[in-house]
């Protein structure tokens, strides 16, 4: 519960003190309003039973009191409303900001591992849920708890035995409610599983639509989706039925106290140990006091959903950030020493040692899955290695500020993200202080000036979210221009990014050659020809460096590299029509 409060207030439960105080005042005000009514009725019946005429002046006074408290209620309500909504919205704003701040500091690897829509969902849906709970549910829950407790304490002084009878079943009801939480927890986990399954199947269905249709497996024949949906329906009903049943039983038990109290009162009245007026007061209070608690219990399901949202966010907030504060040295050299690294238990690198000397090109080659890209990621400090060390300019990266490490690197990503805004703005991200002439110069060197100039508004052309209006090759050259402007001493590169269609390929290649000139380069190569001039080629297999050296040395060594080189020399991509059974063009 305390964790829950902490999560929904973004770590500041004290923000709830004022709203809770005012909600309690609102409840108290309503209680007093009710008290006037009870006092009036009590007086009325006491007069009747005593055989005297009711004191009209007293009753008029009570009426005036009710009117005053009703007016007061408006102001208290308004205050409570303002405080709760204010607290809810500032808590969610603070929470969103804290989450954004946290994302900024998380290892980049952790961010790339997850769907970006996951995080976006947290910012939106999860915090909306928190707003709702803090503004609506919490005050309601509070008055549902406080009112009966206050009433119980007051009634204890009036007649403790009757009060005990009325609240006799509450402990049992609470025990059952606890049970409901357990049940909901277990079934809830299965429900979430079923939901994730549906999400996965939907994604699969939509992603694979072309294939599925071409194999006539779409629509009704994609039974995997239907099965997942059926399972979700079943789990939803099970969850709702089981928790609903238990919660409702608790409510019944709790409210059964009224009947117990009636029976007790009846017999005690007959014994003469209880007077009618006291019984009357108990009857009045007893019929109304548990009403708010009933409504609050019915919101059980929503509170549970909110708790899930809170947990999701908490998991991110609690994730460890990368250590290190020292600014990275602006030296273009890096070194890996006996590096071991595993993604979630799965070992990827095992004892990699290599230096990346200033202005030299180191190429990484090897079968897919051998660990080449992990080496690049570790050089950019997307992750810290579990064993050994990666250092930049002789300093262990773990002591360096992660952002400052990145400021000395340029990477040509597979995905070239462009922000909403003009092309000039997107290039200028490389160096915000750059002049228009410098931006244009970078664009020229990245071979994208010509196509930018041909756009309707030139450099001021707006590109959409993700840069959707440009082709892949164009996006890539814009992002290379950005890197050229940044002018970082180390360049990390995956050659695969240069494999676009022929014309674009040539332009991208020219742009990349411009980027790597006179810089320290680590490049993953698929076409070995591309890197035959590298200063050193590391042949990676199974997370280790199995061979290294210059191209000629490696070919002469007749190892894995030589085998790959020969294969590529002969194959160079697959062909159709060569060596197949049919002769081209015949019918």
């Amino acid at each position: 519960m305390r964790d829950f409060l902490k999560h929904i207030t973004s770590g500041n439960p004290r923000a709830l003190v004022r709203p809770i105080f005012w909600c309690a005042m609102e409840g108290l005000n309503k209680l007093l309003l009710g008290m006037f009514g009870i006092l009036g009725l009590r007086h009325l019946f006491a007069a009747h039973i005593g055989g005297a005429a009711p004191d009209l002046a007293f009753l008029a006074g009570l009426c005036a009191g009710m009117a005053i408290f009703s007016v007061l209620l408006y102001f208290v309500c308004a205050k409570a409303y303002w405080e709760t909504f204010g607290a809810a919205y500032s808590a969610s704003a603070a929470g969103r900001i804290a989450l954004a701040e946290k994302l900024r500091k998380l290892p980049l690897g952790n961010i790339l591992e997850r769907e970006s829509s996951d995080f976006a969902n947290m910012f939106m849906a999860d915090y909306e849920m928190m707003e709702m709970v803090a503004s609506h549910l919490l005050p309601q829950l509070l008055s549902a708890i406080v009112m009966p407790i206050v009433a119980f304490l007051c009634l204890l002084f009036v007649d403790w035995r009757m009060a005990a009878a009325m609240f006799a079943c509450v402990p049992a009801a609470l025990a059952i409610l606890y049970l409901a939480c357990q049940v909901a927890g277990r079934l809830g986990a299965r429900h979430v599983e079923a939901k994730i399954e549906v999400g996965g199947r939907l994604q699969e269905y939509l992603d694979g639509m072309m294939t599925l249709k071409s194999y006539n497996l779409a629509g009704g024949r994609f039974t995997r989706l239907e099965r997942a949906l059926r399972r979700l329906t079943r789990e939803s009903i099970r969850l709702e039925g089981a928790t609903g049943g238990v919660v409702n039983s608790a409510i019944c038990l709790m409210r059964g106290g009224l009947s117990v109290m009636i029976l007790a009162g009846t017999y005690r009245c007959m014994d003469g140990t209880l007077d009618v007026i006291t019984f009357l007061v108990f009857l009045l209070v007893g019929s109304a006091v548990l009403e708010p608690a009933t409504s609050a219990f019915m919101q059980f399901g929503i509170i549970r959903y909110a708790a899930l949202s809170a947990e999701r966010i908490h998991a991110i907030i609690a994730a460890p950030v990368m250590p290190g504060t020292e600014p990275a040295p602006a030296v273009g050299e890096a070194e890996m020493r006996d590096v071991g690294f595993a993604y979630k238990q799965e070992p990827v690198l095992n004892g990699v040692t290599s230096s990346f000397p200033k202005n030299r090109m180191i190429a990484l080659v090897g079968p897919s899955g051998s660990g080449k890209s992990t080496i690049l990621r570790l050089l950019a400090r997307f992750y810290d290695p579990q064993r050994g060390s990666v250092s930049l300019g002789g300093k262990d990266m773990r002591g360096l500020d992660p952002e400052s490490v990145l400021s000395h690197l340029s990477e040509v990503f597979q995905e070239n993200y462009l922000f909403r805004g003009s092309i000039a703005m997107n290039i200028r991200i490389g160096r915000p202080s750059a002049s228009a002439a410098e931006v244009e110069d970078a664009a020229r060197r990245a071979c994208c000036h010509d196509f930018i100039a041909s756009l309707p508004h030139g450099y001021d052309t707006m590109v959409g979210e993700g840069g959707a209006t440009l082709s892949g090759g164009e996006r890539q050259r814009v992002s290379i221009a950005r890197s050229l402007l940044k002018n970082a001493p180390i360049v990390l590169l995956d050659e695969a990014t240069a494999s676009l269609d022929p014309e674009n390929e040539a332009s991208v290649q020219r742009a990349i050659n411009e980027l790597v000139r006179n810089r320290t380069v680590a490049v993953i190569a698929h076409k070995l020809k591309t890197v035959r001039n590298a200063d050193r080629i590391l042949v990676i297999d199974g997370g280790r460096i199995v061979e290294q050296g210059k191209h000629d040395e490696l070919v002469a060594a007749k190892g894995l590299y030589a085998r790959m080189w020969n294969l590529q020399l002969n194959a160079g991509g697959w062909r159709v029509g060569s060596g197949t059974a049919i002769s081209s063009g015949t019918i």
């Binding site: 329906t233 009947s259 007959m270 591309t530």
Partner: protein
């Protein structure tokens, strides 16, 4: 039929709801039962109040000598109070279960109806950006329906029934007092109507939605752009932008909250103070005849019932937002449903030969911008035809028109002389196999992935296909061989391995026509060799249409069609095209330059590489 109503406006939530039922193919039955049960429960939950009233009556009647109390009657009323409360709550639960059942059925029905509809849409629909939005609709917008149908609907019924029954009782007992009890409700309604209407508030709501959309957009951009943001040391700036958006949303939300403060609190104060209206009225009535016990009891009953009026109404108040979400959900569902499926032929024909001809084909994605402009060519049965040309020139579009991703705007695509529009879509897909750039695999076992090509095939056939596609060996090296689960939570395959499994699937399917998208550049050398062998197996004896990116891959094709700006620029064999010295010859030259690309490191002097760039640009 579903599409016809798609464009109709769904102004009221109930017509939105009936539209949902219609799409989901769900009957009203369960919802009617749920509503009846909820109404019944609302009545049952009033019985305890009546029991208390009867007990008080008994107490006051026997006030002179309490030993005369009718213990049997008192016990009976206590039991009635308990059982009616029990019944009320469990009937409510039963009603809620019905409404949940209906809700989950509707959710299921909507998702199934949508996914079936999606299967009928032109393939082209999925090549755009639509699938992300569709997934969001299918997952989240549909889910919002649950809250409304399962909780809000019963609450509305109960929220209306309880006050109606209470007022009916009150009016039958004492009309003037009942009128006083009704007064605050009427006042409250007036305050509501004045407070929540108005153009200014509509505008405020619109602004709120805009702010929210901004926040959503910025959140996505912040997360997606994070690698770049970090790389370029922009986290502070970008964080500040996002920070601003968050605060703008908060400010806007608080503005709306403030503007609603007065009407909402006035309403809740007035309705919460019903006793303040009823009690003085009762006292006034009593002032005339102070000895009237009956009247005192009536006042007692009224004071008991009064809180029961306000509570359900609060629930109704909280509904507004959910109703909007239903309307929004229906709108988004209809957006997808209004996409027209490709028409199925009335008298489907089956071709008996498998050559493909394009006859004066014109096609535009957006009206007015011709993607394919008057293209005619033929792919002979059993031969290989390659489409090459600059990106965006139309080669992929042509390949996709052959398998009716879209229908042509003019002209015709024929298979064996039969217009593809006259072939049933299932039969058409039976004739054509694709191997796309990114192989799509199900998260299922390797077996099932291959068997998708021919679900009736025996496991032995799947293995034969796998051997032909050169993936048998690596499959055996997987932890569970052919039964290894791949995809989410299973084994990860390299791009080349996934592609060869896709080829095995196509080999098993053994359709007479094959459409290939040649792009294996991402694979490493060893995989390329195996892929070559797999593809050679696959194309044996088939009519092949291949989209060529790397010219050497298709240089042996029987016919090479060079497509540029939606038109056929030239065509012929490799030798013929080179002799023409046209676009193909230029591309061939450019390709070879690109293929000989060597990364220049520091070994090369800057001036040399700079010269290279200038030459490239002047060309």
């Amino acid at each position: 039929m579903l599409q016809k109503r798609a464009n109709m406006n769904n102004k009221s939530p109930l017509s939105g709801l009936s539209r949902l039922l219609e799409i989901a193919g769900e009957k009203r039955g369960l919802l009617v039962v749920a509503s009846l049960l909820c109404a019944l429960s609302a009545v049952a939950l009033l019985v305890p109040f009546y029991s208390v009233y009867r007990i008080i009556s008994e107490l006051t009647a026997k006030r002179s000598d309490l030993r005369m109390l009718d213990a049997m009657a008192m016990t009976r009323w206590a039991v009635i109070a308990f059982t009616s409360m029990l019944a009320g709550i469990f009937i409510y639960f039963a009603g809620l279960m019905c409404s949940h059942l209906a809700a989950f059925n509707i959710l299921y029905g909507l998702r199934m109806a949508m996914s079936r509809h999606l299967a009928l849409l032109p393939m082209g629909y999925f090549t755009g950006n639509a699938s992300g939005a569709v997934k969001k609709t299918l997952e989240f917008n549909i889910e919002k329906v649950e809250l409304f149908v399962a909780h809000n609907l019963p609450d509305i019924v109960a929220g209306i029934t309880a006050p109606v029954v209470i007022f009916a009782c009150m009016f039958s007992v004492n009309p003037p007092l009942a009128a006083m009890a009704l007064l605050p409700l009427a006042l409250g309604a007036l305050v509501q109507a004045r407070g929540y209407g108005g153009a200014a508030r509509q505008a405020a709501y619109r602004e709120y939605h805009d702010r929210m959309e901004d926040l959503n957009q910025s959140a996505l951009e912040y997360v997606r752009g994070m690698p770049i943001i970090k790389m370029f040391g922009q986290t502070v700036r970008s964080f500040k932008d996002f920070h601003r958006t968050i605060l703008a949303y908060q400010e806007c939300a608080m503005g709306i909250t403030k503007s609603m403060m007065k009407p909402w609190n006035l309403y809740s104060t007035i309705v919460g103070s019903t006793a303040t209206f009823v009690f003085p009225a009762g006292v006034m009535l009593l002032a005339g005849r102070p000895w009237n016990m009956e009247l005192a009891l009536t006042l007692f009953l009224f004071m008991l019932l009064v809180p029961g009026i306000g509570a359900p109404l609060y629930k109704l108040m909280a509904l507004g937002g959910n109703l909007n979400q239903i309307a929004e959900g229906v709108r988004r569902l209809d957006l997808v449903l209004s996409e027209n499926p490709l028409p199925e032929p009335e008298n489907p024909k089956l071709p008996d030969r498998y050559d493909i001809t394009f006859e004066r084909v014109r096609f535009a994605y957006v009206p007015g911008v011709m993607a394919i402009d008057d293209v005619s060519f033929a792919c002979p049965q059993g031969g290989i035809t390659a489409l090459v040309g600059p990106s965006g020139g139309g080669k992929s579009t042509l390949a996709k028109l052959a398998s009716r991703f879209w229908d042509v705007n003019a002209g015709a695509v024929r298979i064996g002389g039969v217009d593809v529009r006259d072939i049933g879509s299932q039969e058409l897909f039976g004739l054509v196999s694709f191997v796309f750039q990114d192989a799509f695999l199900l998260s299922d076992s390797v077996y099932n992935n291959i068997l998708a090509g021919k679900p009736a095939a025996a496991k032995g056939e799947a293995e034969t296909a796998a051997k032909a596609a050169r993936c048998h060996d690596f499959i055996l090296s997987l932890p569970d061989g052919y039964d290894t689960k791949i995809g989410e939570g299973g084994a990860k395959l390299s791009g080349g391995e996934a592609q060869r499994i896709a080829v095995a699937r196509a080999i098993l399917k053994n359709s007479p026509i094959l459409i290939l998208d040649e792009a294996t550049a991402f694979m490493d050398a060893e995989n390329e060799e195996l892929m070559q062998e797999a593809i050679s197996e696959l194309v044996k004896g088939k009519t092949v249409l291949v989209i060529g990116h790397r010219l050497p891959s298709v240089s042996k094709a029987g016919n090479i069609v060079v497509v540029k700006q939606g038109k056929i620029h030239e065509s012929g064999t490799h030798v013929e095209l080179l002799a023409k010295r046209g676009l193909y010859a230029v591309m061939w030259g450019a390709y070879h330059d690109a293929g000989n690309w060597v990364l220049r490191g520091a070994d090369f002097s800057g001036s040399e590489s700079r010269r290279g760039v200038r030459e490239g640009q002047s060309r």
